[in-house]
């Protein structure tokens, strides 16, 4: 029986046509990057966003985990195959701001090493909520990253946890 541990509601990954929004569902066996929004082609701007990228509503608490994992648009990282996990802080030329980046190296079922690079970019709703609470943006981003770290620490087994490095 696979158990849900946590949901990181928004991470961004690079795509050929621009950034893509993912929700990261972490279970006790694997991390599933669920594609929510294949984002805009740069030129189309606001309209592109409106036309091309309807955000998927995913029921992370109720949806069948296997179904999410088997969707070809999603990326699945089995925890037991993690070779290295690093939550890194620094300036991202991709988001043009200070950001936390999740770097995961893992072996795919064929034994080949794969890498996932995802930016922990909190949603505007989260930042607005924190602002209302008097928390500045930098601190809010740090808090988001720390929550992500806690989520991984709860989810990863001892061997995977030993391969993790945290900058938060």
């Amino acid at each position: 029986m696979e158990n849900r541990i946590a949901l990181i509601p928004r991470v961004m990954m690079k795509g050929a046509m621009g950034p893509k929004d993912y929700g990261l569902l972490i279970t006790d066996r694997r991390s599933i990057f669920v594609l929510e929004k294949a984002s805009k082609a740069a030129l189309l701007g606001v309209l592109g966003d409106a036309l091309l990228s309807d955000k998927k509503e995913v029921d992370y608490a109720g949806e069948d985990i296997e179904k999410l994992a088997s969707d070809e648009q999603n990326t699945v990282v089995p925890h037991e195959n993690i070779q290295k996990l690093h939550l890194k802080k620094g300036f991202s030329s991709y988001t043009m701001s200070n950001a936390y980046t999740l770097l995961v190296d893992y072996a795919d079922p064929a034994g080949k090493t794969r890498s996932v690079k995802a930016f922990l970019v909190p949603s505007n709703e989260f930042l607005a909520l924190k602002k209302k609470e008097g928390v500045d943006k930098k601190t809010a981003i740090e808090e988001y990253a720390r929550s992500a770290r806690n989520a991984f620490e709860r989810a990863l087994g001892a061997s995977a946890a030993a391969k993790a490095e945290w900058d938060v």
């Binding site: 158990n3 309209l47 995913v58 992370y60 930042l127 806690n150 989520a151």
Partner: protein, 189 residues
Amino acid sequence: MSPKPVQIIAYILIVIGIIGLAWSFQPTKGTTTAELPTGQGYFGYVRVSMWLSGHVEGDFEVTSGGGTVRFFIFDSVQYEDYSYDGIASDSMFAVTGSSGSFSEDLPTTSTYYLVVDHGSTTAAQSVKITYKVSGLDFKYLIGGVVLLAIGAVLAVVGLRMKAKAKAATPPPAAQTAPTGEVVMFDKKT
């Protein structure tokens, strides 16, 4: 009605509008041949509508019939005067020859005319006129602005329809992160 078709139409109109606007700044080039029949008082012309200001340049050449022709550039008042009796009492530019070139600023919003008529002969003549007009093209400019405006209105309407539709759709039963915070699942699910 679904908001998507409205947004797609808006997008298409905006793109066409932008193309129209860009096109309005492009110089207009043209070549025409004026056929002047045998006899006095015949002339041929190219009409140029100019918005704000611009420039016209080009050349002309008698391609059949021989002899020379008179070539003029008139503004609308001068043209009206000329077309009444064929006497060019005033012009912006005038030259006589079997060929030649011209270059003249068109200073204000007006209609201008490039005119050729018989010069040294009243025999039939063909005159090739090649011209390039620089300046804003009014019809493309207006067309572009209108399409952009309609597109923008439709885009706003589409976004409102989308927002309305979204507001009317109940969220999934167990949507977990409305505030965007990291969610820890307490129970084994």
